[in-house]
């Protein structure tokens, strides 16, 4: 059976993740090399995210890591979508790291989780992005096809 480079690389990442992960990151499900679920927590005392756990869904294309994975927050019973001016209420994340432009193949699942952790940690605004309602109601595209306009360099 053919092994493509995405599976190879993901299997390496998986074995590493199974070994150990940075604090606040936990693997929930990784049964194949197409979709993984991970939980992240914000570790400091930021009141917005205190005592909350958020679920992340990673979707990998066969061109990973040349192409970025599709990463969204997943809404579950006890897993809300974190409040952030760059996270839409349907879980889509506007982060240049996850777009074609900001992505680099040296990034990995672990580094993405850590970036998201720090993106939450640094946030003080309890708000959704501008036009959240409209976007959530109308968006039928997949995150990788959306042209985000990255304007906020403070994140």
């Amino acid at each position: 059976m053919a092994t493509n480079f995405a599976s190879k690389r993901l299997s390496k990442e998986l074995s590493k993740i199974n070994g150990q992960l940075p604090p606040g990151i936990a693997l929930v499900k990784a049964e194949d090399f197409q979709e993984w679920l991970l939980d992240i927590k914000v570790l400091d005392q930021n009141p917005l995210y205190l005592n909350q756990t958020y679920r992340l869904k990673f979707k990998f294309s066969p061109s990973y890591p040349i192409e970025p994975p599709e990463v969204t927050f997943l809404l579950c019973a006890d897993r809300p979508i974190p409040m952030h001016p760059h996270i839409y209420s349907n879980g889509i994340i506007c982060l240049d790291l996850l777009g074609q432009q900001g992505w680099s193949p040296v990034q990995n699942v672990e580094s993405i989780c850590m970036s998201l952790q720090s993106m939450l940690t640094g946030n003080t605004k309890n708000e959704r992005p501008e036009g959240d309602q409209q976007f959530v109601a109308n968006n039928r595209r997949r995150p990788r096809d959306i042209d985000f306009y990255y304007h906020d360099n403070t994140v």
Partner: protein, 440 residues
């Protein structure tokens, strides 16, 4: 894809060392791995920004966005240079790894045993290591070059000129000091020693002239260095020429234009990466690799771009400049769209009412409870397809809009009277009305 898990089971990772008594080896191990594939470097190439990646990995990355994965600096495939020292290092470490691993995972008491004269133990270990490692290195390098003689490994050749005994059937060239098959020595000298592989063949690898296929391992079977292939500017290549190029390479010419381009790109990438390798693979093996790629990526090749304009856009596309440059056009489009909007919601009912007026057919409509949204599209279809008396359905539900409706109706009937029913105008009108249910 699950089955691929099984055959990818060489899952060694730099973090493996952390649980052993030699955790510091973790950083050594990690420094010998490519950041893209997380595996030990295969044919390491160094970029102009001095980062090293596997040849295949960096070529794929540069094909994708033309930037170094580590620092995002722009770079080109042409500027890649072989990092021979890194390859030697990787080969040496890979060979030594099992031994070190065994050593690191020895039962702890052997290592710790304090009573067993630790100094002796250490000196023994030290001796073993010093004895072992240089020999390893040599073997690795020479086997890496696929050359039977150890000669190239020795850096300072003058030192052992005297005691150097060439292998049987070989003589030492008096000019370049390398050993050459006895029956080839004269030819070798005639060519000014040029058929001899350089001591560090890789220094020349990327700049080697294409027409002169250098031979490696001159003593036994010569390996032909393949020529590098240029990437194509696909926008300048027509379909049939691309097909012909693929056919000339012995590759499949099936699939969409997209797939053809991707296949050609991947082939060139595989091929050029193979040209960098110390021991290039045969074409057959490359074709198998392309086949694997095709099966795991190819199906996606077709679907990748059809759905998004974003893929086609350049990476450095300046959206702001674009939008300011075309601001007027956008404004006009918006204005045009606005002009039409008040008309939109009214079209269907008013078309109905108009029909009623014209034909004088019995008073319309009687479904006051009907939700206003849902019938619109169906009704519009009917408008196109059926005679007038089918239409009047929802007039009463929009009493306040009657006036504007009527006005539009008059225009539209005027148009209708002038134009055949199949005219473009009707087509546009129907488009507008079918859009309507989406409007809030």
């Amino acid at each position: 894809m699950k089955s691929s898990k099984e055959d990818a089971f060489d899952l060694s990772d730099s973090t493996d060392w952390l649980e052993t008594p030699l955790p510091s080896l973790s950083s050594v191990d990690s420094a010998l791995r490519c950041q893209v594939c997380k595996d030990y470097y295969t044919t390491p190439m160094i970029t102009s920004c001095a980062h090293t990646f596997c040849s295949l990995c960096i070529r794929r990355c540069l094909n994708n966005d033309g930037r170094c994965p580590a620092c995002r600096a722009q770079d080109q495939e042409l500027k890649l240079r072989f990092n021979g020292a890194m390859e030697d290092l990787v080969e040496a470490f890979k060979k030594a790894r099992p031994e070190i691993w065994l050593f690191a995972n020895k039962p702890v008491e052997v290592l710790r045993a304090p009573s067993q004269s630790p100094s002796l133990k250490r000196s023994l270990d030290f001796e073993a290591v010093t004895k072992e490692s240089p020999r390893k290195l040599r073997r690795t390098r020479s086997s890496g070059r696929n050359r039977p003689q150890e000669r190239t490994v020795v850096v300072d050749s003058a030192e052992d000129d005297d005691d150097y005994v060439p292998e049987e059937g070989f003589v030492q060239c008096p000019v370049c000091q390398t050993s050459v098959k006895e029956d080839k020595i004269n030819a070798h000298l005639d060519r000014n020693c040029e058929d001899q592989p350089p001591t560090r063949p890789h220094d020349k690898a990327p700049t080697r002239p294409h027409n002169k296929a250098t031979t490696f391992g001159a003593t036994d079977k010569p390996i032909l260095r393949p020529e590098r292939l240029p990437q194509l500017h696909y926008s300048m290549v027509k379909d049939n020429i691309l097909r012909k190029k693929l056919a000339d390479l012995g590759l499949s010419t099936g699939g969409t234009r997209q797939q053809l381009e991707k296949r050609y790109t991947e082939w060139v990438t595989l091929w050029n990466a193979n040209c960098d390798a110390t021991k290039p693979k045969g074409k057959g093996e490359l074709k198998r690799e392309l086949d694997v790629w095709e099966r795991t990526q190819g199906s996606r090749a077709g679907s990748l771009k059809q759905d998004s304009g974003a893929q086609i856009r350049e990476k450095d596309f300046d959206g702001q400049a674009w939008s300011s440059r075309h601001d007027d056009t956008f404004r006009q489009l918006i204005a045009n769209a606005r002009k039409k909007t008040p008309v939109k919601p009214t079209t269907p009912p008013e078309a109905g009412s108009g029909m009623v007026d014209l034909t004088g057919s019995p008073s319309p409509m009687k479904m006051p409870n009907q939700p206003p949204e849902e019938p619109v599209e169906a009704q519009e279809d009917m408008d196109m397809a059926y005679p007038e008396d089918f239409l009047p359905q929802t007039i009463e539900e929009f009493p306040t809009k009657q006036i504007s409706k009527r006005r539009f109706f008059e225009e539209s009937t005027a148009d209708r009277s002038e134009l055949p029913p199949s005219s473009q105008y009707l087509g546009i009108a129907s488009d507008i009305t079918t859009v309507r249910p989406i409007q809030p």
